[in-house]
């Protein structure tokens, strides 16, 4: 297929792969990028919120032509029980700034745009090509890839694995383990189309203002999970995700949860009358810091979801993928400019640079959260939401019961459900894991 030799091969044209390919091509490396989808983005699923800062570091003037939906002015966190929601809403006109900080995007369109930038920078991008295997020499050094095209062996000095959460190639070559059921969430998502005016009215928005709702509670039926609603220009991205191990254990169906979320009285009015145009599903790495595999070796580096670089607490993934892709590429360019070989020792520069960045720092901060949420999922995702909304309802309903009595009842309902020591240790656990 391709006889030439490349400086670098990038597997995958998602957020991480595009950032890596772009950075290396801009610095004059001969880059080949391989993507199994028909075009960059055709296999990718995301909420999706785009964080401007991390994209700005790649493409400073991206706002001029990137396909952005709305910039976010409001964030809602909802705790749901069957019939109600308790919410924290944060809205600020400060987000109506000249260079907004967060946007909603539609991944297929965004990835296509970013991929064009990669081509413009001079990389060779081959879509409709699945990489089937990593080529390793007798010392286990990665020297290239094999694809499903005819005569598909291609060689390069270094391979950037940006293959996403499933990471089939890395596992196949023994570079890292398979994703585990308790370390990945399965999210299902639908695209609901409505007129722009309807979305503006229902979410209290104008112009290109956008809003995000994140919801936890009985919608995940005691499983570790979260629902989300993101406003785009003319559609709403709506989905829910829970740990794969929890689906396996409970026998709940992903589409059952999605339908339940859509039917919730706080959600249904938002999507009423919409036309659904897509149903998708994707995994999300949830293992955090403790699940990060080896990041580089002889002739290879791994970036993004394939390296489990995902901050489940803050719902950040694509920015970590973009940043790790960029940093890996910068490390490779540095090593090359010194005319050094792409050995594990030299490539560990990537690991060092990543450790110094927000990517590893943030993941380290929350290293104990994933395990905590998982082992106590019934409390955090079922018991507390029910208690909260009962307490809120009792509190706001005026029925002649003295307030002091109400407060006592509220407290005793928490103690009855979780006991003093249970409440105390839950609070302590969260505080410790959050620190």
């Amino acid at each position: 297929m391709i006889q030439e030799r490349f400086d670098a091969i990038v597997v995958g044209a998602g957020m991480g792969g595009n950032a890596a390919a772009l950075t290396m091509a801009e610095r004059g490396l001969k880059v080949l990028q391989l993507e199994r989808g028909e075009y960059s983005g055709s296999k990718n699923v995301q909420g999706a919120i785009l964080y401007a800062d991390m994209l700005e570091k790649l493409i400073p003037n991206f706002r001029e032509d990137a396909p952005l939906e709305r910039h976010l002015v409001e964030q809602r966190f909802w705790i749901l029980d069957e019939r109600s929601h308790t919410g924290i809403h944060y809205r600020s006109d400060d987000f109506n700034e000249e260079k907004p900080n967060r946007y909603t995007i539609i991944r297929a369109q965004f990835d296509k745009w970013l991929s064009q930038k990669v081509r413009d920078a001079g990389a060779t991008v081959l879509c409709e090509t699945t990489v089937t295997e990593l080529l390793q020499d007798s010392h286990g050094r990665v020297v290239g890839v094999r694809t499903d095209r005819d005569g598909g062996e291609i060689h390069a000095d270094v391979v950037v694995l940006a293959e996403g959460v499933n990471g089939v190639l890395g596992t196949g070559a023994g570079l890292r383990g398979r994703p585990k059921p308790d370390k990945v969430a399965l999210a299902v998502k639908e695209m609901h189309f409505l007129s722009r005016e309807t979305i503006d009215a229902r979410f209290n928005l104008k112009g290109d203002e956008g809003l995000v709702i994140e919801a936890v509670g009985t919608i995940s039926r005691g499983m570790t999970g979260m629902g989300f609603i993101y406003s785009n220009k003319e559609c709403i991205s709506l989905g829910i995700g829970c740990l794969v191990a929890d689906f396996q254990r409970t026998g709940e169906t992903p589409y059952g949860l999605l339908e339940g979320f859509k039917r919730h009285p706080s959600v249904a009015p938002l999507i009423e009358g919409s036309e659904v145009k897509e149903y998708s599903a994707h995994l999300i790495p949830e293992g955090g810091y403790r699940a990060i595999p080896q990041l580089c070796g002889e002739g290879w580096v791994v970036v993004g979801d394939a390296a489990q670089l995902n901050n489940a607490i803050h719902r950040e993934g694509s920015n970590l993928a973009m940043t790790s892709g960029r940093i890996a590429a910068e490390a490779i360019c540095l090593i090359r400019s010194r005319k050094d070989p792409m050995t594990a020792k030299n490539l560990s520069l990537y690991k060092k640079m990543l450790t110094d960045s927000f990517v590893i720092k943030d993941l380290k901060k929350y290293k104990d959260m994933p395990a905590l949420m998982h082992t106590h999922s019934q409390n955090f995702f079922l018991t507390y939401p029910q208690l909260f909304s009962k307490a809120m309802q009792d509190y706001v309903r005026v029925d002649g019961t003295p307030k002091l009595e109400k407060e006592k009842l509220m407290l005793s309902s928490f103690i009855k459900a979780r006991s003093w020591s249970g409440l105390f240790s839950d609070a302590l656990r969260i505080a410790r894991a959050w620190r």
Binding site: R36, G37, E38, G41, S42, K43, N44, V45, Q46, I106, R107, A108, Q109, D111, C127, E128, T129, T130, T132, T147, D148, R149, V165, N166, V168, R178, P179, K180, P181, V184, L186, V188, E190, M191, R221, C235, S237, V244, F247, Q248, T250, G251, E252, T253, P254, Y255, G256, L258, E259, G260, R263, V276, K277, E278, Y279, S280, A281, H282, L283
Partner: protein
């Protein structure tokens, strides 16, 4: 308590665009006499309902509607219950929005 979806998954899959690679299933179930608990869990956990029980009590997979999420890989590959790979380049689900 699992609840019944108000809309069938099969109907949801009609929203999507697929390029089916006929005769080349990218996921295969290992022949078995009684399905393992992992295989049985796929009857519920697959978001596209690709896994079904046939009249012999075996778990079967039909990949035409697969959305390539990898859930069955995570649950069933390590134990050898299934063989999992991606479809050939260009084939399979093609998201317009993603």
């Amino acid at each position: 308590m699992p609840s019944e979806p108000s809309q069938r998954v099969e109907d949801k899959l009609f929203y999507n665009r697929y390029l089916v690679d006929s005769g080349r299933a990218h996921i295969k179930v290992r022949p078995h006499t009684t399905p393992s608990s992992r295989l049985l869990s796929m009857l519920k956990a697959c978001p596209a309902r690709c896994y079904e029980l046939n009249d012999k009590g075996h778990v079967e997979v039909t990949v035409d509607g697969c959305i390539e999420c990898g859930t069955c890989r995570v649950i069933c590959e390590e134990s050898g219950d299934i063989e999992w790979s991606y479809p050939r380049g260009g084939y399979g689900v093609l998201f317009k929005f993603g």
